[in-house]
Subunit: 151 residues, 2 copies
Amino acid sequence: MSKAIVVPVIRELARCYQAFQHASDAHIRRFGLTPPQFDIVVTLGNTPGLSFKELGSRTLITKGTLTGVVDRLEARGLVERMNCPEDGRSTLVRLTPEGDRVFREVFEPHLAFLAPAFESMPECGRKELEKRLKQLREALEKRSDELDKRD
Amino acid sequence: MSKAIVVPVIRELARCYQAFQHASDAHIRRFGLTPPQFDIVVTLGNTPGLSFKELGSRTLITKGTLTGVVDRLEARGLVERMNCPEDGRSTLVRLTPEGDRVFREVFEPHLAFLAPAFESMPECGRKELEKRLKQLREALEKRSDELDKRD
DNA sequence: TATTGTTATACTCTATAACTATA
DNA sequence: TATAGTTATAGAGTATAACAATA
């Protein structure tokens, strides 16, 4: 019976992520960014720029949606589009200096704000959690591949 | 330095939940439900009905949004509104027989589909993960309370 | 032919604030 | 006065499919 095994862990995973989201969203909105926009800014942070394809696969935002989210960030001067020298079909997105400033001003305080929650857990507990989450993620990704294969 | 502590665990938490979402969303959409709609149906499953207030706090959907999501589920005949006998201001939402049927037909296969990912982890690993996630969640909830207090 | 990104469409979700009715 | 839910508004995200340019 799969239910007894799956439900308790899923519930905790979902509730934990929701708690994270809840703490994050309220904090992020104070800086005038939506969660997907914040996701993009953070993903682009400390990179030389990423293609739409890569940005999409890292954030799980599909390409049609991504165009819109990037448009809005571009309109606000936080990111810019660049032609990709290696592949004429590809467009790179990178943070502008202003975007980089926002990344640093938003991301660092955001982490500092969340830190107490993580510091309350012993070092070994965090390591353990990290390891188990990684295991589960990899197993879940295999399930997604399985679903894709059915099409 | 908070960054070194927070980032790796958050990243794994986020990636793991994304992997779960990714596997779930694709699966759920095959049944014609959006993720928030599925969330509502699952939350109402095996209950005698919940008030909007309770439904909102369990799913983290704010009240204005919730009205719309419930409207769409009601239009499809999956849920129904009922007056609350104890409090005239309150409205209860519960699954219709059809909604209950969908709950069982969608939720069980959904779990069965995800199960292999969880079964790949040893029993003690799941328990450990569950425990750590709960700890982290409680700590994160405290951070949210902290943010609320500032207003 | 396949891939990258854009555009177009239609709908859902979202925050927010004003509103109604009950308590 | 406070609370539960609705309505109104405006914007953002979403899936999907058709499209252009390049590989």
